[in-house]
Structure formats: C-alpha cells, structure tokens
Amino acid sequence: MKKLSARRRHPLAALVVLLFALVASGGLYAAFAPTEQAQADSSAQSLAIDEGKRLFAVGCSSCHGLNGQGSSMGPSLVGVGSAAVDFQVGTGRMPAQQPGAQVPRKKTIYNQSEIDQLAAFVASLGPGPATPTKDQYTSTETDAISKGGDLFRTNCSQCHNFAGAGGALTQGKFAPSLENVDPKYIYEAMQTGPQNMPSFPDSTMPEQQKQQIVAFVRYQANEAPNPGGLSLGSLGPVTEGLFGWIFGLGVLIAVAIWVAAHTTKAKKS
C-alpha cells in the first residue's frame, strides 16, 4: 500500500486510474445492463455464418465457388436456402465423391451442428426455403395417411414406385427408395427438388399436403400390410416374375414327376 501511495504522483498514474475506471464501468455495464435476446441471437447467427463460411471454404468451395456463386463443377447456391443444405449434406450426398449422372446417398461426414453452420452460411447468400422444424413435417390429422396416399400417387409414385421403393430414370439416374428416410429429408426434398427431382413448392403443394405425403410414406415403409403375404420388395413384375418362374414352375415340375412316378398296378391274381 505504501508502495502504491508513494507512486501516486507518477506521470502514468492518471492513465492507470483511467484504465481501471474504464474496465470497472464496462464490467458493471456488462453485468447489469439489460441483455437483448435478439441481439444475442443475431450474434450467434453471425458466428454460425462465419463458422459455416470457414467450413464451406474447406469442403465445398472447390466446386461451388468461394462465395457459393457456382462454377463449371457445381451449381450456384445463391437462393437454395438452408433446407437444401440440410438435405444434401445431412444425407451425405454432398460433398460429392465424384462427378456422375447422380450423386448417391452415403455416410454423412459432417455432424449436425456443422451442417447447421453450413446451412446458415448458404442461407445468408440469398433467400430460400429454410430447414423445416419437426412440427412442420409432422401431421396431426387423423386421415393424413389416406390423403397422403392420394397425393403420393399423383405426384410421386411415377418415379418413386407405388410403395416408395424407388425406380430407374434415364442414363443412370434413379429415384431412390423412400424406405428408412428421415421424414425431415422427405419434406426437404419436396421443398427443394434435389438433383433431378422436381420441386413441389408451397405455392403448388401447401405445407399440410407435404405433411400428409410424409405420413403416407412413413406408414408405407413401417406399418402397411402386405395383402399378398410377401411383398417381394414391392418391385412389381421383376421379383414377382422371378418368384413365379422359380416356385410356380418348380411346383409344376414336381407334380409332373409325381404323376409319372406313380401308376397304380393291379396285383396279378
């Protein structure tokens, strides 16, 4: 204490006091000032965007350009929205392994928080559909499944097969099976139209109808009964034909052998 008071006339004393006062008042302000939620959020948001930009520069920019503007290797991401990122990266389609007719689903290499950051960055490039929340893609209606079935047959079954088993398109492209697909991704795919799938925007297919379709697809994959006993993959003529040839003809051959092997003989009397 003596030491301190001895130096109170030091030329830098004023500066030290001033700094001390600044730190103290700043600290008090920080402690007692009313914090604004929105402000805190947007700074978290801008933090996520910054993080996303960093991830983007490393993982995506070689094809989509440093600012997501697109290049000859990959399309522009301006205006695709966070839903598209959540879908493409969340299902492992992006980053793509190699160029080809179609980028298939594979193991995800980012975790969900990294995906959210990437999505935040891409969403900041231009307005587009946002990642849906759980109640956006979950239907509470009791007749959602039957309505969804109608909508599915009109809009989806031509490519994805009547039971959602998927099907072939042109030149190596295909519509993937919808079994075991997270409802969120089904919803996002309808919103954003990934790769060659056309999109079904809310203007032509309202949110409620997308929920119904999701409900139907989940029902079809998990609970739907098989009226014929065996679904044989619900693929139609290919598996059914194979079954018919192997088992149907097999039975006929067995019967023919039985007919030829058994002839009743009268005992010689």
């Binding site: 060659n196 032509t204 009743t264 009268a266 009397s269």
Partner: protein, 360 residues
C-alpha cells in the same frame, strides 16, 4: 419287336437276369416284370376309366361355355364376397375359375387316360447311329402305328370325341376376349376436356393437389405440377374426381406444368405456346398411353416408365429415345386479367397413342 414285350417274354428276361447275378454282380438285371393294371385285366374298370376321362373333357367344355357366359353376363363392376378370398370382382373370379377348370380338366383327363388306358409296357430303345436305314424307318412307322393302337385313340371313340370337343372349345375363350379391343374410338380421341376453351370462354388450369386455380408465379423453376380442366360450359363444376367419367376424362385431359428459363427453351413454337417459360404438356405418352411424368428438372427430360420413351420438354417434347411416335402435345396457355393460368383452345394434336382414324 412288340412280341418281345409280352408279359411272358419279360418274365423270361427277368428270370435270365436273376440267374446272371450269381456269375456277374454287374450284369444287366433286365427290365422288371410288367405288372398289368386293373384296367388292363378288367374290361369294366377300363370302361369306367374311359367314362371318367370323357367326363373330364365334358367338364372342360362346360367350363368354356361358362367362361363365355360369364364374360357376357356378369357386370364388370360387380363385387362379391367369397370366403377365403374376401371381396373380389365377380367377373374376374368367374373368368379365372372357368378358364382354369377348362384347361385343368383337359390336362387331368389326358393324364388319367395315359395312366389307366394307354399301354404302360416298358420298351427298351437301344441307341443307334443317327442315320436311319429303311429298316429303322419301317420300324418307326410300325412303332407309330403300335402307339396309336395302344393309345386306343381310334378304338375309344368317346374319349376321342370329347377330347376333340374340349380342345376345340377352349380357344373360344381367347377369341371372346378380343371383344375388349372394340369398339373403335372414332372421333372421341381427337378432342379433350379442353375443347370448349375459346379466347372468350377460357378454361382455367386447376392444380390437382389443391383443386384451386393457379397463378403463373406459383410455378417455380424446377417444379412440377399436375393440372386438370376447370369449369367449362358442359362441366360447370370443373372436372372432379367424383364425376362418373373422371377416369375416362383425366386419361386425356391431364397436364404436367413445368417452368423453364425462357432462354433455355430451344423450340420457338413451344415457347410461344407457354407463358413466360411455364409450359403445359399432355401427361399421356404418345406410345401406348401410359401416364408419364418422370420429369428430370436439370435435363428437362420426361421419361415414360412403360417402354422408356424419353421426351425433351425444353425442345417441344421431341422424342429423343424410345418407341413413341410423336412429341407430347402441348397446350397453349396464357393468363387471365387476374393472373390465373388459362387455356384458350384445345390441344392442336390428339393426345395419347396413334389410332387408326387419327387426324394428325
């Protein structure tokens, strides 16, 4: 030769074989003795078998008649409950059962005939070189005659006649089904539900999902929407799924709506038929009429799942692959003052597959 196969002759061979075992364990044991069947030794049993075979052929004939009768008489929309099967179409059940019985009885009759009445004497046929000398040919002819004689085809007249009858009747089932190909479509395929659209009385395009009219800005680039005709003079409520003829109507009226950047549309005529890049194509394949809408939004190709016809929707739906003979017809669309998409005329060409009277 046939003399060798008399039971006594076989017994001799058999006995010889047994004797051979002692000297040579690998000697040819010969054929086992022929045991006659009941029908071989009992003429009454043979007659009964003959009647049974004929009965099966007669049942087959009756079933074929039943097939034709049910085809004519049963209404195709009739649903009945049949115990283990549940609720099924009466017509399908009747056609399947009668045709099944008709074919089964011919088969079963033939098998029963072969097992009870045709000769079951084992004939050893030794292998020879391929060339057939006169002796062999004579032998074959002789065998053929023997076979014909043994089958009793000429002798058992009842079997012969009923077999001929049932075999002659069964193909009638197939001939009968050809009736489904008629009647000819005449002019009914030349026009669709859009035919009443005129510039003064346009028909709105109704979204198949929402049942509401659509504005052009609702159709995003890369999106796919299906549409049907809205209210017209003859259908004031527009085409509704509850309409009795909905299936017939939608099979011609269905549209798929897409939007392409106007600069990417390669065909100027097609661009003119659309509205600011929104194009309305018939959903019906021009090959044999499957509904097609496997639309790839990046390549603008639409694929038909039936026989892989592929149409380039950015180039007037030109056929770029597959058996389809015509491009998909495109509907001329525009918007009304309130911005809703409308049609002001029918398709310029008939939709769907070619047919005999097709005008264009």
């Amino acid at each position: 030769m046939s003399d060798d196969n008399l039971p006594t002759a076989h017994d001799a061979v058999h006995g010889h074989g047994e004797a051979a075992v002692a000297e040579n364990p690998f000697a040819d044991p010969g054929l086992p003795a022929h045991e006659p069947r009941r029908t071989d030794i009992d003429e009454r049993a043979a007659k009964r078998a003959e009647r049974q075979v004929s009965l099966m052929f007669v049942v087959s004939m009756l079933a074929t008649v039943g097939f034709i009768a049910s085809y004519v008489a049963i209404d195709k929309s009739k649903i009945v409950y049949i115990f283990p099967l549940g609720h099924i179409s009466a017509l399908n059940f009747a056609l399947g059962m009668t045709l099944g019985v008709a074919l089964f009885c011919i088969g079963a009759g033939a098998v029963h005939w072969a097992r009870t009445l045709m000769s079951d004497v084992e004939l050893p046929a030794e292998r020879h070189a391929i060339e057939a000398d006169d002796e062999t040919r004579a032998d074959v002819i002789q065998q053929f005659k023997t076979g014909a004689g043994e089958s009793g085809f000429g002798r058992r007249k009842m079997i012969r006649n009923t077999l001929i009858g049932s075999m002659a009747l069964v193909p009638l089932s197939g001939v009968m089904l050809l009736r489904d190909l008629g009647p000819l479509p005449e002019k009914s395929l030349d026009s669709t539900g859009w035919k009443e659209a005129t510039p003064d009385a346009p028909i709105r395009l109704i979204n198949m999902n929402t049942n509401e009219p659509m504005k052009a800005e609702d159709i995003g680039i890369g999106s796919l929407t299906f549409a049907k005709p809205g209210p017209s003079a003859s259908r004031p409520g527009g085409l509704q799924e509850t309409d009795e003829d909905f299936q017939q109507a939608i099979a011609k009226d269905a549209l798929m709506l897409i939007r392409i950047q106007p600069d990417d549309i390669k065909d100027d005529k097609s661009k003119g038929l659309g509205f600011e890049g929104v194009l309305a194509y018939s959903k019906i394949c021009t090959h044999v009429g499957c509904p097609i809408s496997l639309y790839e939004q990046q390549t603008h190709h639409a694929l038909c799942p039936c026989h892989q016809s592929t149409f380039d929707l950015s180039d007037g739906a030109r056929v770029i692959f597959g058996p389809a003979g015509h491009p998909l017809p495109q509907l001329k669309i525009t918007t009304d003052p309130s911005g809703y998409l409308i049609a002001t005329q029918d398709f310029a060409k008939p939709v769907g597959p070619s047919f005999w009277e097709r005008s264009a």
